[in-house]
């Protein structure tokens, strides 16, 4: 029995691991609880959850890209944050959340911007009072959780919604599944992506989101106090400008780039990365091919957002 289990387990691992050993396609769907996710969606779009009623989750995580088009996201009372909001799409595949990986799960992540005084600036009590005062919320929370809404319930619902925010069936995923062929440029771009070593960090389902790496390995990247790096957590010198590797999924849509939103275009982002982490400048041809590849990473809009209009 035990041996059989072992064999089965290895078989599973082998199957998961060997399709492409560096990059895996996004599954077409993953199981989630529909009612909770729908409630989470409603909450995700609700600006009343912020201190001054102006900022919703969706304010910085656009329904089109999951990311923020502004270099630095804006919080309540128009306060500017220290980072460009990372995309909320496909976050379920990340090993940690936030730029510095401060939290592991989606549920824990939800609390961070809500409590952050320059983001949404809400406390637990205010959120709960609000959720219980609104009949529609009160009814739904009662129906799903069997008791009046609590803050963990809110996190749970939003996390469930975020689980559903996956963007499957990109050209690249379909290529990985053997459904289509890439164009010569795209294929060349992928080869470059590997040959230049980008893939050493940008691997896995999300092409990133599974390790911490330093920005400016070869040529030092400028550093400023307040950057959301590992240093902000560990205060170790070596952790300065060390971030969770951002995903390259939908990267063509999520400009501006980097934690500080300093690259407005993909060209610029590629050049900067090449300079700081390869120590070399890419030529135009290389950049075009890489961009051609990166564009194949654009997936479908998450089904839960397509279901009924863009906003509830």
């Amino acid at each position: 029995m035990k041996r059989l289990l072992l064999v089965l387990l290895f078989l599973c691992v082998a199957e998961e691991g060997w399709a492409d050993h560096a990059i895996q396609p996004i599954p077409r769907s993953i199981p989630y609880e529909k009612a909770k996710a729908e409630l989470g969606k409603r909450l995700f779009f609700d600006p009343a959850l912020s201190g001054d009623g102006t900022v919703a989750c969706v304010s910085c995580h656009s329904p089109e890209t999951g990311a923020d088009t502004r270099p630095f996201s804006l919080g309540v009372h128009g306060q500017q944050g220290h980072a460009n909001a990372p995309t909320v799409f496909n976050t379920v595949f990340n090993f940690r959340q936030m730029w510095n990986g401060a939290v592991t799960g989606l549920k824990e992540q939800v609390a961070m911007p809500l409590h952050n005084p320059i983001e949404m600036a809400m406390d637990r009590k205010k959120v709960e009072a609000y959720l219980r005062a609104r009949p529609e919320y009160a009814r739904q929370f009662e129906a799903i959780y069997g008791h009046p809404a609590t803050f963990p319930d809110l996190s749970d619902a939003i996390a469930e919604f975020e689980k559903a925010l996956i963007t499957p069936d990109s050209r690249f995923d379909r290529y990985l599944r053997g459904e289509i062929e890439l164009s010569p440029d795209e294929r060349e771009g992928y080869r470059l992506f590997k040959r230049l070593g980008c893939i050493t960090c940008h691997n896995g389902i999300n092409l990133g989101g599974n390790s911490f790496q330093k920005m400016g390995l070869i040529h030092r990247y400028r550093w400023r106090e307040g950057f959301p790096d590992r240093f902000s957590l560990t205060r170790k010198e070596a952790d300065k400008n060390v971030y969770k590797v951002p995903t390259l999924r939908n990267v063509a849509l999520t400009a501006p780039y980097f934690h500080d939103g300093s690259a407005a275009t993909l060209q610029e982002a590629l050049r900067k990365m090449a300079h700081h982490n390869l120590g070399f400048d890419l030529n135009e041809k290389e950049i075009d091919k890489l961009i051609a590849f990166l564009k194949t990473l654009t997936g479908q809009t998450p089904a839960i957002l397509k279901a009924e209009g863009k906003k509830p």
């Binding site: 492409d20 595949f93 070593g197 893939i199």
Partner: protein, 712 residues
Amino acid sequence: MKRVLSRLLLILLAASTGIGLYLYSDYYLKRYYRENLRIRSELQSLQTDLYALKGDLLRNASFLYYSYDNLHRFVRRIQSRLDRIESNPHFQDEAHSASQKRLESFQKDFRDYTKELERYLSLNSSLKNSIIYLPTLQLRAFSLFDAGTPREKETLLLLSRINASIFLAKNAQDTDFLEDLKSNTLRLSREIQNYEGARKRLLSTFREHLWQFIRNFRPYLQSLDRLIGDRLLQESAEIISVFQKEDQAQFKTVNRISTIILLLYLTSLVVVAYFLLRIDRENRRLRQVQEELERTLITDQLTGLGNRIAYRREKVTMSDPVLILVNIDRFKHINEFYGTRVGDGVLQGVAKILERITPPSLQATLYRMGGDDFGILFERTNCSLQLTTLLHNFHESLEECQVVVEELTIDLSFALGASDRKNWLFETADMALKSAKSSPRKRYALYTPDMDKREEIAQNIQAIRSIRKAIVNESLVPYFQPICQLSNRQITRYEALARIELDEGRHILQPYGFIRAATEAKLSGEITLKILEQTLEMAQRHPFDFSVNITAADVSDKEDRERIIQLLHRYRQLGNRLIFEILESEEIRDYESTAEFIRIAKRYGCRIAIDDFGSGYSNFEKILQLDIDMIKVDGSLIRRIDHDRHSELIVQTILEFAKHAGWETVAEFVHSKSVYDKVSTMGFDYLQGYYIGKPSRTLQTELFQIPRRGDR
């Protein structure tokens, strides 16, 4: 009732305790094994995951680029396993405290391991990035440097040597090559000084990546070593072995508890069984008591035979029943003479006799029907004899038997009545019995329809009504029959006979039509008084002797006796002309009161006659004790005296006896000339009968007025 309830409650309690114990032990054991298995399998899977993680790490190390996702997945899987094991209540049990401690330290080590993994991934990416990029840079160098010039050729060769060393170092995972690389890096630094522009920039970048490799290679290898080491695996193996050891100890406890529970369960079963048995026993006892009671209800306690109820029950189940009733003659006397104790003994003895003499082939059931009546009930088909023959046999057997009670030997005689009339079995058998009893010679009888006394009973009731009416209406009158004195052949005496005149004298009711019923109804005293009074009135007017019938019952009743004496007193001047005829045929039970009356009557000058003397009932000794004046010889002896030598002898003996006793003698039933002639010569003092004269309302004074043959 309360006891039953409490016992029931006890049983329920025991049963529910038993079931509860069983369920608890079942639940407890199941839960124990289930949770135990769960933890064991989690611990085993933990090891499997650790192996898988290690395998994936090695793959990561050997590839230049490889997805990190699986590593994180294994980490998450292991973490959730640890959480599950830790939060399992079974694992939290005190018995597993050593395992808990080990798991705790494992958790801590695993957290460190995760951090190490993150560090490793950063190192890995940087290192591999450089390893990948260095050959790319060398390729670029080929286009930037001129291999024709010795210096530049030397530079290209240096880059090649460096890449070769890196290739070796990386694939051998050997830090020995780092020294080589370091010296080559110094040479490269010197070379850089010789170049400008793009060439210098390329070499600088090359050197930078080289430094990256040199700097990170040793920590990379160390980190990898730590990650693929066996520490966590050993720890998890230890947890498993410690857990199993603890489990064995706990298993013993669980085993002991379940044994105890099993014993308790069995005990409760025994308790339930005990109570059930007790209830069963009690039920059986109750049933016995009930049967006993029922038997008592239908059993005669004295003889052990069935009683009337038993008889009735049995009878209805039979198809062709025959009932023989057996009655002990004069049982009342036995009771009075010897006392009821002996009487009871007699009854018991008779029951035994009946059981003995009843032929087994009859398959008869014996009953004591009440008093001294016994019943023998059987199916007609079981009896091959004629019923009368059977009765005869029974009677013969009974007559031969004697009953011995308390050393007294008692001779008994019996009367038997039998019937096979299913519908009125007892009633008709009783009629047959009565018929047998009423006859002095016939001692058994089988029911025949003419025995049916129901008509007679109805007549008696009618008669009693008539008597009552007659007494009220003064239609009860004396008829006077003349009695002839032989010495002077004159009528000197009349006997007053009671008659009821109906329809103003057109119908006359004879005394035997009503006297029996009257006696039964206690009306005979009344009749005697009425007749006596009217006779005394007649005697007042006519100078003859008058005789009046009086029964022993009349004089034994104190009230009646008083009234008779009052009448005598009123007509005391007539006393010497009055004769009381005491009926001899009747049983004179109370000789005392009879003697007393005779004494009083004699005081008024009355004379006493014994009526129907010689009818077979005479108790000479008793009669001799009474102070009587005359006897009237029974008509049955006189009627045929003219041709019956036997009767003549008896009458001669009576006359002889009377002469010696000093009694006057009267011959009754002188109904013909030949009887008249006969008795006239025998020495009688007086003659009476239809030949002398019939009874009439008025006094007949002449002899032989209506001489004719006929009845009295």
